[in-house]
Symmetry: C2
Subunit: 334 residues, 2 copies
Amino acid sequence: MTNPVLVEVTRGNVVESAHRGAVAVYEADGKPLLEIGDTARPVFPRSAVKAIQALPFVESGAADAYGFGEKELALSCASHSGEPEHVELARSMLAKAGLDETALECGTHWPSNHEATIALARSGGSPGALHNNCSGKHSGFLCTCRHLGIDHRGYVAAGHPEQEMVREAMESVTGAVHDAEHRGTDGCSIPTYAVPLRSYALGFARMVTGKGLPPERAKAAQRLLKACMAEPFLVAGTDRADVALMQAAPGRIFVKTGAEGVYCAAVPELGVGISLKCDDGASRGAEVMVAAVLSKLLKTDGTLAAKLTELANPALENRKGLKVGALRPAGALA
Amino acid sequence: MTNPVLVEVTRGNVVESAHRGAVAVYEADGKPLLEIGDTARPVFPRSAVKAIQALPFVESGAADAYGFGEKELALSCASHSGEPEHVELARSMLAKAGLDETALECGTHWPSNHEATIALARSGGSPGALHNNCSGKHSGFLCTCRHLGIDHRGYVAAGHPEQEMVREAMESVTGAVHDAEHRGTDGCSIPTYAVPLRSYALGFARMVTGKGLPPERAKAAQRLLKACMAEPFLVAGTDRADVALMQAAPGRIFVKTGAEGVYCAAVPELGVGISLKCDDGASRGAEVMVAAVLSKLLKTDGTLAAKLTELANPALENRKGLKVGALRPAGALA
């Protein structure tokens, strides 16, 4: 099955490039509200499921034991831009558990925020593991290990108790088997499993409603999504699409990007979960898709829908800041 | 017409993402050697045609008048990475024409080479127009204007004599009409025109053989392509695919990338031109496509074909340098 074109990139009057993809919108009882393209194909969710991966951090009591509030919960679900606020919060989470950045096994990269990279270089600094966009999630993993008395060394490996807890959470929430055959290694070295795209939509419908989840898990899920919606900057960073989308309607939209063009999202008032994948892995395509889907789902709120439509139609500027083109939803999302 | 998948991106045993595209390989007499996908659709060539855009710089006598050799010719066809060698050479070209970087109208951006950006920031510097990846091309434009006594101000605008010379060269070499309806503005603010993808393959077959071009133009074309093949670093930069491809067989392969997943290329010994577009605009997809096409065309040279096949199958590493996946040619390019 060939997925349809869902985003067009224009320059002048010409369509220059296009992005294909698949979209699933589900209710918590398993009812599909919208399906575009092949939603049965296994897809790596990458970072789009960090909120599910953070469930053991809350359920284990670790987050409460260390006195963490919404900021820390948001950061544990984040793909942050490595800005000072993100770095310092991750550092403080580790410190509460008696650890420092040497415990992180996520690898090192320069901040994805360009200004943060320039500032770090100007100050004579170099990036460490705290700048890694996954350092908040990994800090949550490490706090969970410490709280439960588990040896945290090697916590990124498949089979380590931390990753087994994460896999159990992923399976139970999405209802999809996570097997070794569909296992890959994520950018931050933890296992990632490819399961049908639609499973993530169902999973986030359960996360946002609590329906179909055990009571403690339902509570943890809602705490995590609420924290992300309350602290969108900590989930992403300056000028990031996730922040713009969550700030468009505070507390009413949850979104989370993942590498290779994935999004998971949820709309509490509708009780639905959303998952989508841009076939070619482009973030810009996935960002337009998720904004367009949200605009459709929330169309009865005209003001909000207009805001979301604007986010689904970003202008393309050139090196001199001239508007030379745009991205726009196409096909079933037009 | 839906273009086929030509590149797959794997993680573990799973295909995570895929890139579709179209490819044209032509001889100078207009005979197609290979066509994959829709090669009649108008495509913006972006920077992939800089060697054609540089023809007036050579034909006008400007390059010779200022004493430029292969290095300057290569830079005039470059999308360089903003490394010190690129910046200083562009500066020296402008100086020969009595100009400095304030004459450049390409806009400013940080070097695309990450190390160059970090070094510039660490030194307390900021990027200028010379760091723009197009500063060599624009320096060529400016030298042409100065040599011909044309007022260079506004040289990036459609209708300026410089851009009229460029448009005439593009039309004459590709044989395709460049009209206002298919005009867009490029990243560096000059006009870019969308014409059928296959026209660029034909154009580069003419460029590399000289066939079908007036004698002076044929000479200029071959000087420019030879200069690029002799100085691949100046055409691109550190760790760039264009350098790896041209260095794989010095003097035997010309390639030039363009934004939004375009490549133009030529193989002198076969007398063919190549053009391709990755539908979604991804450079990584286009890079695999061009390496795979070259490997097929040059398969009778087993050693070279093996090198090109290796370049067509790059590994994907994660933040810790672990090999987590790969890109590979697919479908008609497998």
